[in-house]
């Protein structure tokens, strides 16, 4: 199986995008998940619904409004310009922003479920042992929720690899910058290069299967969920 240089570029870019997105979501999604799992606020419902929106909204809707919002007349675009960052569409970081929104529920929901499964007791016990709130979070909650984090990380990564619509809307198809594997396959199909499309698609298929296989084979051993 011979891949062209542009195919390899597309695969590497896809992996980079998925890694960066997953990392950012670990950092930004965990506090959201923690808050959602602990709060009794009346905002829990609305915030939870907003987090889940990307599951329901078509990527065309998400991509279109990201394009408008990140454009020169949009709020995000004006912010990034005033910070001297330029405009985000057609850049790698623009794709990262889009992917973070797009994959948000895949990070938050498994982690939230894991936090909820811990219950109040272990944390209360830790509190009676005079563990500070921060201590309780890092030494009790995080280790107990680890399986949830693994699930969330794998799902987020895999979901970002499979992203297409949003990237198509805000990417501009620039080789090495925004032309990810899914877009490259689309290009091959449109150019009638079906052989190339099959090859790249096969790689994605095998990759996705292995990721999900790892996820579902690993899960039964995780007793704490």
């Amino acid at each position: 199986m011979v891949l062209s240089a542009t195919d390899i570029d597309a695969i590497l870019l896809t992996l980079r995008l998925a890694s960066v997105t997953t990392l950012i979501l670990f950092i930004s999604g965990t506090p959201i998940a923690w808050w959602l799992s602990r709060t009794r606020s009346r905002w829990k419902g609305p915030i939870g619904a907003v987090v889940a929106l990307p599951l329901v909204l078509p990527p065309s809707v998400l991509g279109f409004y990201l394009l408008v919002a990140m454009g020169p007349n949009g709020p995000v675009g004006q912010l990034t310009q005033s910070l001297g960052l330029g405009l985000l569409p057609f850049t790698f970081w623009g794709l990262v922003v889009g992917s973070v929104f797009y994959s948000l529920p895949f990070m938050v929901q498994p982690v939230q479920n894991a936090f909820e499964a811990i219950g109040r007791r272990p944390l209360e016990v830790a509190a009676t042992l005079r563990a500070s709130p921060l201590d309780r979070f890092f030494t009790v909650a995080l280790p107990l929720a680890l399986p949830g984090f693994v699930t969330a990380g794998i799902l987020t990564f895999a979901h970002t690899v499979g992203e297409f619509g949003v990237v198509l809307m805000i990417g501009g198809n620039i080789p090495g910058v925004t032309r990810v594997a899914s877009v490259q396959i689309y290009d091959h199909v449109e150019a009638l290069e079906y052989g190339d499309a099959h090859r790249l698609a096969a790689i994605l298929l095998v990759f996705s299967f292995l990721v999900l296989l790892a996820l579902y084979s690993w899960r039964p051993n995780a007793k704490s969920t």
Binding site: G77, N173, E190
Partner: protein, 251 residues
């Protein structure tokens, strides 16, 4: 005897016309021809009573869909290659191909006055991005690259290129303000013979190979009077007037 034959013929034709009223055609249209096609369909439907459903997209995608059983009865492509392939592969009706429009390329900005001096704005290089349709897939993208080549600006401008998967997306990048400039189809910014929004420079025809757009009747629609009538209508004066008002030429 002759008058009876005449009468029979009239009745038969009249009957056919009545049946034709109920016919429906489903056609695939290249993205750049979406706007003129809407007007043509409106005029055609009013005149004939047929109904036409049009789906638009990039020619490459429409071709792939047709080859895999999409229910289209005709393809109005953005190029000549795909209709020719369909004919060769036996999906298109032999020798039904014809050039329904010859496209013009325009360098366009959403800002009024930005492109008034023509290609000078490209040479000045003060823009953020130049949006084009993917040259590998879209004839208008190919023409854009040829034009840059003819202007001697290909290397200078290349780092600023962004590509839409078709010409509709290429203009969308400019229209939303994310790219300052774009090479788009004149038909997308022209209505009634005038550029209606922003500013544009119509690229002289000698800077790129002519963008000849062919239509082909597909086997699926060979016996459908509605789509046959539509193909004939496309060659007529009324359709030509609409096609010209969007900045296309015809043969």
């Amino acid at each position: 005897m002759r008058s009876i034959a005449h009468l029979a013929l009239t009745l038969a034709l009249g009957g056919a016309a009545v049946i034709a009223q109920a016919d429906e055609a489903q056609v695939a249209v290249a993205a750049n021809f979406t706007a003129p096609m809407k007007e043509i369909i409106a005029a055609f439907e009013q005149e004939t009573g047929h109904e036409v459903k049009a789906s638009s997209g990039s020619t490459g995608k429409l071709y792939a869909q047709i080859k895999n059983g999409a229910p289209f009865e005709a393809l109005l492509a953005a190029d000549q290659k795909r209709p020719e392939l369909l004919e060769e592969e036996g999906v298109g009706v032999a020798s039904s191909r014809f050039t329904y429009a010859i496209g013009s390329l325009v360098l366009w900005s959403a800002d009024a006055g930005a492109v008034d001096d023509g290609p000078a704005v490209l040479e000045a290089n003060g823009f953020n991005k130049l949006s084009i349709a993917n040259p590998k897939l879209a004839p208008y993208g190919e023409a854009a690259m040829e034009t840059l080549d003819a202007l001697g600006l290909k290397e200078a401008v290349e780092p600023k290129l962004v590509m839409g998967e078709n010409i509709a997306q290429a203009i969308q990048f400019v229209d939303t303000g994310n790219a300052d400039l774009g090479f788009v189809a004149l038909s997308q910014v022209m209505q009634g013979g005038q550029i209606t929004k922003g500013s544009g420079w119509v690229v002289p025809g000698d800077m790129h190979a002519p963008i000849r757009q062919d239509a082909v009747l597909l086997k699926r629609g060979a016996d459908n009077p509605a789509v046959n009538a539509l193909m004939t209508y496309l060659k007529g004066d009324k359709a030509h007037a609409i096609i010209h008002s969007f900045g296309y030429e015809t043969e």
